[in-house]
């Protein structure tokens, strides 16, 4: 058995959640709408219709490029990409070819264990989505509601070597996109789509495997139709195995596009590409170029919110959270926002809290689900304060209450004396109820034990 190094690159498509489509004013939210109810001359590709770009989609693409540490091109343009398919109304897709909005980025991924790896981002560009096809027995039906919805394509360098890190990266990318609030990035709904391309380097060959200088294999298998993170992992693992098997038989895998069948957990050939597709790109003459000046970009960059990893660092430094709590909190922006809302409101009630680094406690309450973060801030804070407040025991009251409890629960007391020690907790509970929390449970327990001995 030879040893293979998988080389995996990613193409990720993300549908932006703008109100309007990319090149016309039609609504971009097509989910559950009647077929062909959201179209106009532009997104139906009627004769004479012309595209005008949606400003927000462009700005959001710049923000995403920025968040992925890309260089934003000062001069960018749209191009036409030609191919025929019934869901592509114009016979070309307006996309970006040689001057994408953003290029040459990187993203440093730290997993929950704190292990770090940097992945290179080749480009981030903007294009339009196609219509939707529904295949029936006697023909194919087409709905153009989705036609023209803004679609961002993120292309990574082939920096991934196993399915797990791809999954981690994608989860992180989803979080990042949700932080930016530019897309739902939902794999099931198709607002986030992944096409990994996978090939193997045979380590037995004398290829140089020094990290910076991997000679890429001369073939690539692209996988389509993956609609969950779980399937991403399964599909890639299946594909690595399939290609290894081919190599082990002394053969060479074909350059092709394969689909993933989640039910059977396997990939199947969609089409074999013998030569690169000829899309006949040329600059879109209907759309003047985009020129992004520094002033404009700097103003726009201010709209990039604090990103998950920055937040994580801040939580570690400012609130002294441990890595794992900070990691979990920052992987969900809503949760992180809630955490900060609680801290913010608590700061007004500092006098009631005796613990100095209470943010650590709050983080633990949320992360360990000790208090549900779905509660209103007020409710959460009440509970949190209670949990964090050491109870001062009123010894006189304690004496009185315990006496009462022993008197009123003679059966339990006699059971205890017979050796049923578990009734003790029942008596503590009764006492606690009467004390209305004005005593520490530990002290109550000790006192009852003392009285009954």
């Amino acid at each position: 058995m030879k040893n293979y190094l998988p080389i995996i690159g990613l193409e990720v498509h993300v549908e932006l959640k703008t109100k309007s489509k990319m090149f016309c004013q039609c609504s971009a939210s097509y989910f559950n709408r009647p077929a062909n109810s959201q179209t106009c001359p532009v997104c139906l590709g009627l004769p004479g219709a012309l595209p005008v770009p949606n400003q927000k989609a462009i700005e959001w693409t710049i923000l995403l490029g920025r968040a992925l540490n890309c260089q934003i091109n000062h001069f960018s343009k749209f191009d036409r990409k030609h191919y025929f398919y019934p869901d592509l109304p114009k016979g070309y897709q307006i996309s970006q070819h040689d001057q994408p909005i953003a290029k040459d980025g990187w993203y440093k991924l730290k997993n929950y264990k704190g292990e770090e790896k940097t992945y290179k981002i080749r480009r981030v560009h903007l294009e339009e989505d196609t219509g939707k096809l529904i295949h029936t027995t006697d023909g194919t039906l087409i709905d153009f509601n989705r036609s023209g919805v803004p679609l961002v394509e993120i292309v990574s360098e082939p920096d991934f070597h196993n399915a797990e890190e791809v999954k981690e990266f994608l989860e992180e990318l989803q979080i990042l996109i949700r932080y930016l609030d530019i897309s739902d990035a939902d794999m099931e709904k198709g607002t986030m789509r992944l096409e990994p391309n996978i090939s193997l380097i045979c380590r037995a060959t004398k290829q140089s495997l020094t990290k910076n200088k991997i000679n890429l294999p001369n073939y690539k298998v692209e996988i389509k139709n993956i609609n969950s993170f779980r399937f991403v992992k399964q599909a890639i693992e299946y594909e690595i195995q399939r290609q290894s098997d081919i190599f082990n038989q002394g053969k060479q895998p074909k350059q092709e596009t394969r689909g993933y069948d989640a039910e059977k957990n396997l990939t199947y050939s969609l089409r074999v590409k013998e030569e690169a597709a000829d899309y006949r790109y040329f600059p879109e003459p209907d759309i003047p170029p985009m020129i992004f000046k520094n002033d404009f970009l700097n103003k726009l960059f201010k709209k990039v919110p604090e990103l998950p990893n920055e937040k994580l660092l801040r939580y570690q430094n400012k609130f002294k959270l441990n890595y794992s709590d900070a990691f979990i909190l920052t992987r969900n922006k809503k949760m992180a926002d809630y955490f900060e809302l609680i801290l913010n409101q608590l700061s007004k009630r500092k006098k009631e809290i005796r613990i100095i680094d209470y943010p650590k406690e709050i983080a633990k309450f949320i992360v360990n689900k000790k208090i549900a973060w779905q509660l209103s801030a007020e409710q959460f804070i009440e509970k949190a304060i209670k949990l964090m407040t050491p109870v001062v025991t009123d010894t006189n009251l304690l004496e009185k209450v315990i006496k009462e409890v022993i008197k009123n629960n003679s059966q339990a007391v006699s059971d205890y004396k017979k050796g049923k020690t578990n009734v003790l907790m029942y008596l503590v509970g009764q006492a606690m109820k009467d004390l209305k929390g004005k005593a520490e449970a530990k002290k109550v327990l000790e006192k009852i034990k003392e009285k009954l001995s």
Binding site: C24, C26, N36, L44, V52, I142
Partner: protein
């Protein structure tokens, strides 16, 4: 005509395939001649040195022409308007021959 610029039959067929047009045998012959002649003529640009001239793909000198997201849609079609000119439709859908 120089041999170099004369298109081969396979090239004509490949172009027709890319372009999504079907040609009769007679058309293949005709286009082989006519396209080759045209290419021969327009190749006169090769003799003219353009240096590092930038490309002009549009002459307007405009840039950054956008529309604001959420702008009122005044062109929306009703479903029946959208389907008005379709030869083949089913329910609210456009329909085409089965594809895989």
């Amino acid at each position: 005509m120089t041999k170099k610029t004369r298109l081969k039959i396979e090239q004509i067929l490949h172009l027709a395939d890319l372009a999504g047009v079907k040609l009769t045998e007679a058309e293949v012959k005709k286009y082989q001649d006519q396209l080759s002649q045209t290419i021969e003529y327009v190749s006169n640009l090769k003799n003219y040195h353009v240096g590092k001239a930038k490309i002009t793909y549009q002459t307007t000198n405009l840039s950054n022409i956008f529309f604001p997201d959420g702008e009122k849609n005044q062109r929306a079609f009703s479903i029946s308007e959208a389907l008005l000119n379709a030869k083949n439709k089913k329910d609210n859908f456009f329909k085409t021959k089965k594809i895989l």
